[in-house]
Symmetry: C2
Subunit: 311 residues, 2 copies
């Protein structure tokens, strides 16, 4: 099978953990052990989040006295692709001796007229009081919005259209290479009025990029791996229960938190609706079992999907 895995940011940096390089590398090594199990039996493409990491580099850049302007989000995203890509590359090479692994820099094309540009919604960077936020907004051309009692910068989160280097990724997979790509959802770029690629200040949801890329690469399965074992129905209520097997139709009838499970569910539904193939959401350390249908929440077009008997 050809399998695309989207790895949550918390697989790299646990909640509350300091973002030191060695701690993150230890986490990446654990992740690589699970991913290597998949790679031994399947063609494997890995994407990963970068939320905490890009936030840290953005803060560092904003307080760097050598810079006239902080680095924009396309450049910061590229830095995290290099850093996390290196950690993943090395960990996978160590876990898969004799196997070729590549970590690539990737851009994700979005539409210059995506409605997200008119209404930025994604909070990034630190919190300010209102006066300071508005001063910084005027100075740097930011959009700022209230986030609870504080104010923060918001950037657009446009819809991913295509990973620019998709053809190269497909060629590498066909040669048996394990591909780490499109980190952080890919570096956001548009085609400008001259038809040239150009970075933009935006962040792209990594699960939506993963879903779109899995579709473009004609993957047989799209796995969203995180730190929860299954999607929960009625999460947080006394009647909450795990969903083992479901369909996009059923999932779309339920409510999920916008910031966490929502985008994962949306990404899984889109892949299944578009391709008729299997998506799943579950724990990173159960990757193999999820693919076998014995762990995680499996999403298929209907209840009669081949694996359903085992669920």
């Amino acid at each position: 099978m050809r399998v695309l895995v989207a790895l949550g940011g918390n697989a790299l940096l646990r909640r509350g953990q300091r973002p030191d390089a060695d701690l993150q590398q230890d986490n990446v090594c654990l992740a690589a052990a699970s991913l290597a199990e998949l790679a031994r039996e399947h063609e494997l493409i890995i994407t990963h989040g970068n939320g905490p990491q890009v936030g840290i580099l953005a803060l560092e850049s904003a307080s760097d006295p050598n810079l006239t302007r902080p680095y924009p989000f396309d450049t910061l995203g590229a830095q995290t692709q290099g850093m996390i890509g290196y950690w993943m590359l090395q960990a996978l090479q160590n876990a898969l001796p004799g196997r070729q692994v590549i970590a690539m820099i990737n851009q994700t094309l979005v539409s210059a007229v995506d409605p997200a540009f008119d209404d930025p919604t994604k909070f990034v960077g630190q919190v300010y009081d209102r006066a300071e936020a508005e001063r910084l907004a005027a100075e740097n051309g930011w959009t700022v919005k209230p986030d609870g009692p504080h104010w923060r910068r918001v950037v657009p989160s446009p819809h991913p259209q295509r990973v620019v280097e998709t053809r190269l990724i497909r060629g590498l997979i066909r040669q048996g290479v394990v591909v780490v790509c499109a980190g952080g959802g890919g570096i956001p770029v548009i085609r400008n009025e001259k038809g040239r690629l150009q970075g933009i200040e935006a962040v792209i949801d990594k699960d939506l990029t993963g879903s779109m890329l899995a579709e473009a690469l004609e993957c047989d399965a799209f796995l969203v791996l995180t730190d929860v074992p299954r999607v929960m129905r009625d999460f947080g209520t006394p009647g909450q229960r795990e969903i083992r097997h479901t369909t996009p139709h059923e999932l779309r009838g339920l409510d999920f938190p916008a910031g966490s499970m929502g985008p994962k569910v949306e990404a899984a539904c889109r892949f299944v609706e578009t391709t008729g193939d299997m998506a799943a959401i579950g724990r990173l350390d159960q990757a193999r079992q999820i693919l076998e249908g014995t762990a995680g929440t499996i999403v298929t077009p209907g209840a009669t999907w081949p694996l359903a008997s085992t669920l």
Copy 2:
């Protein structure tokens, strides 16, 4: 021909220029115009320096209150590969429509018993007074040395042995892909006692990595592109004059500054001595003319090399 270009760090960030992202990207676009000329006629592999960029990220990391320890140089080098790789990737894609370009994350293997580890010599990061330098050294396990009137951290600069992903690079070139790789000389790694790849605190000379990689890829030419038109004999004296065509034997009889022209000359000599093919040092915007033998300093095994008649 198969050509490997090693691009000086000052092609990306001019002396005295602020390290803002947009200024560096403008420089990269100029560089890409020259490189695209080569890519239209030849197989092209591009490596680049990262000295100023890694210095900036190291300072940012050292003053980040969220970190227990600053990021080590392998991780910082990976960040610069992502950032500069992205800029080069986009600029080359725009300059070469219809052509495939890749920017990869690469590690460069060095020997764990390289003598450089016993005597670190490469200054990195900011300057301190002696007391502060020694306090930081004790706290972080650094080696510090006097640099003029100040003290600075030094890290080892071991000899590059192999780019870990060389086989992948060769496969991509054969498919006609323009490859941006081994940025900053490659992320420094050793094989540890368990045989696993492991990052180390070191910096690798990008020209030496370029020379070694050009040899491993069996390139026909190795070009060191910078901002001076030719290597000078007796540089800085009234009798200084440009060298148009020379041999490793002749070059090794001359003296060059250790910090700037020295490593470029050494890298060029090694490539020519090992392969019998052509190396050259010259201006980035004359890349095509250098390859034709009408600009730059051309280094060949002997004076009878085919192009010599045109020099």
